[in-house]
């Protein structure tokens, strides 16, 4: 490689990448900035970027209007619960697919994924009826189960691609060492797959946190998570940009922060076997 042009190329790359990165991030940045403006500044023309009087009044207003804490708590419980449930069911399934593959393994995996393609609206009413019948409507446990089910194929797939990287000989060694199947999964497979499991967990929490069809349609007051909290801001037409921004920031902040902090773990496992 010609060394002499490297620094210049590096500078150009840097500039280009940062510009694009900034552009992609800008809507989020703008939302966060706007949340600290007064309503008047929020719609000012020309728009004000930083040089405004920062205020927390929007956050206060949002807190007064709705019980943010409860929505947040519901989101945490539903996303966390569905993820843990899903992982517990997916680990054994992924173990089977990765370490005792058969001719049907691939078919089963693709079938699982195809269940995710079934349009939710197509089955909304039946699920709604079943939920009423079973007393699950507007309960956290009901949503947990639904979100677990819709994300299960993705979890199984991710874990499967991750497990496949683990040499079968190590599990066989455990078997020779006298481990039962349960011990093999608990003491050997799971600890070895921690990075993959972490990545799967994170992705699933993000997907569950952001899921907006079932969470909107199967909850009312009690179990509504942050998706419902923010949806309540969609009706009053426009004009309350600052408050909308504050509410938006509050809705996305927890997952954004979690995502940023765990970015490395998330990305490391986010390949779905796309990388050999």
């Amino acid at each position: 490689m010609a060394r002499s042009i490297a620094p210049r190329r590096k500078a150009i790359n840097t500039l280009l990448a940062w510009s694009i990165g900034f552009l992609i991030f800008f809507p989020i940045l703008w939302t966060i900035l706007t949340s600290f403006k007064t309503e008047a500044t929020a719609i000012a023309n020309p728009p004000v970027f930083i040089g405004f009087d920062w205020t927390l009044e929007n956050y206060q207003a949002v807190m007064e209007r709705s019980n943010y804490g409860r929505f947040l708590w519901n989101s945490i419980v539903i996303a966390g619960g569905s993820t843990i449930l899903g992982i517990l069911i997916a680990i054994p399934a992924a173990w089977s697919m990765a370490f005792v593959p058969s001719k049907r393994t691939k078919d089963i995996l693709l079938w699982m994924l195809s269940t995710k393609m079934l349009p939710a609206v197509g089955v909304l009413y039946p699920i709604y009826l079943l939920f009423i019948r079973m007393g699950l409507l507007d309960t956290k446990i009901g949503l947990m189960i639904v979100l677990m089910l819709i994300n299960l194929p993705i979890i199984v797939w991710m874990l499967y691609t991750y497990f496949k990287e683990i040499p079968g000989e190590i599990l066989e060694a455990a078997r020779m060492d006298g481990a039962t199947l349960r011990e093999e999964v608990i003491y050997i497979l799971t600890p070895m797959a921690i990075p993959g499991i972490a990545s799967t967990l994170l992705l699933n929490v993000i997907l569950a946190w952001n899921e907006a069809f079932w969470t909107l349609n199967l909850t009312a007051a009690k179990a509504a998570p942050l998706t419902a909290f923010i949806a309540s801001y969609s009706s009053p037409e426009g004009l309350f940009y600052a408050k909308l921004s504050a509410a938006s920031t509050m809705a996305i902040a927890p997952i954004l922060i979690l995502g940023w902090f765990s970015q490395k773990q998330l990305v490391s496992g986010l390949t779905f076997g796309a990388v050999k």
Binding site: A93, S96, F99, S114, M117, P119, V121, A251, L256, L270
Partner: protein, 288 residues
């Protein structure tokens, strides 16, 4: 690895996931099929008896049906094209030597963490609003008339919003794939005198094949069922009614469960057609 015992253990360990998903698929599906042959109006008399294929015929002949199928396919196809092309570009860019790569990655990944309801609301109000939106300000700055994005260019606007949300995902997967490309291969090609665009076409792109397949598969799964983005922005108006949304309106807004269920069956058929083609591509490219 495979003794009789481990095979039966495998079947047992597979069972919970398979049984649950089978139930999750079959139970509502059966109910949907059942309703689809009924006149069923929950708020106007409930179950009004069997009607044969009437719901199917009505749904199929309603003027909204074919446009909704088309809208669905346009949105899915548009978002896929944009995210894959831009994703490859971004992945290549991010793989170059630069300062602050980690920070750029953090910026690029951010939209993936934003819930669709929020992103739709923010784009609709703060960017695409014809009076107060940032884009309107930008247009006015150059003396142009602000575009009424969500009515005049509704479909492209929605494709844009959704692409913004999914671009990080595509970029990340493609980036990981590019990073796994053996640089010796590229260097060898460079030694052989292959120009940059040929190196891309003959080495980088084929190497990305699996990753692109994965991106397409996963995104299609999610894009077929986008809901919040339409619910929040246009409410299905201005030609943005996807098949999913049309059914949603029949079931929830018109409270016509029979008709909606027939639509649901169509949607399931459409999903299966798409799934069939996907699986054919994926089966080839993905030794699952």
């Amino acid at each position: 690895m495979a003794t009789q015992q481990s095979r039966s253990a495998a079947r047992l360990m597979m069972a919970p996931a398979v049984v649950l998903l089978l139930g999750w698929m079959l139970v509502p599906l059966t109910m949907t099929l059942y309703f689809s042959f009924k006149k069923y109006l929950p708020l106007r008399g409930g179950d009004l008896g069997w009607v044969g294929f009437e719901n199917y015929a009505r749904f199929l002949t309603s003027s909204a049906f074919w446009p909704s199928v088309q809208t669905t396919l346009v949105i899915v196809g548009g978002v896929l094209a944009i995210t894959v092309v831009l994703g490859i570009f971004l992945a290549i860019l991010l793989n170059q030597p630069m300062w602050g790569q980690g920070m750029v990655r953090i910026l690029v990944i951010a939209p993936f963490f934003v819930m669709p309801t929020v992103s739709a609301l923010v784009w609709k109000n703060m960017f695409m609003d014809p009076n107060y939106g940032l884009l309107a300000h930008l247009w006015k700055l150059f003396g142009a008339t602000p575009v009424e994005w969500l009515s005049q260019a509704s479909l492209p606007s929605i494709i844009m919003i959704v692409s913004w949300q999914w671009l990080p995902f595509a970029t990340l997967i493609l980036l990981t794939a590019i990073q796994s490309l053996d640089s010796e291969q590229l260097e060898a090609a460079e030694m052989d005198g292959a120009p940059a665009h040929k190196r891309f076409a003959y080495i980088t792109l084929p190497h990305l094949g699996r990753a692109i397949t994965v991106v397409i598969l996963i995104q299609t799964i999610f894009l077929l069922s986008i809901f919040a983005e339409i619910f929040v922005t246009t409410g299905g108006a201005f030609g943005t009614k996807t098949l999913s949304y049309l059914i949603f309106q029949r079931v929830l807004e018109s409270q016509n469960v029979g008709l909606g269920s027939a639509g649901g069956v169509y949607a399931i058929i459409l999903a299966n057609i798409v799934a069939y083609f996907l699986v054919r591509i994926v089966g080839k490219n993905l030794d699952a």
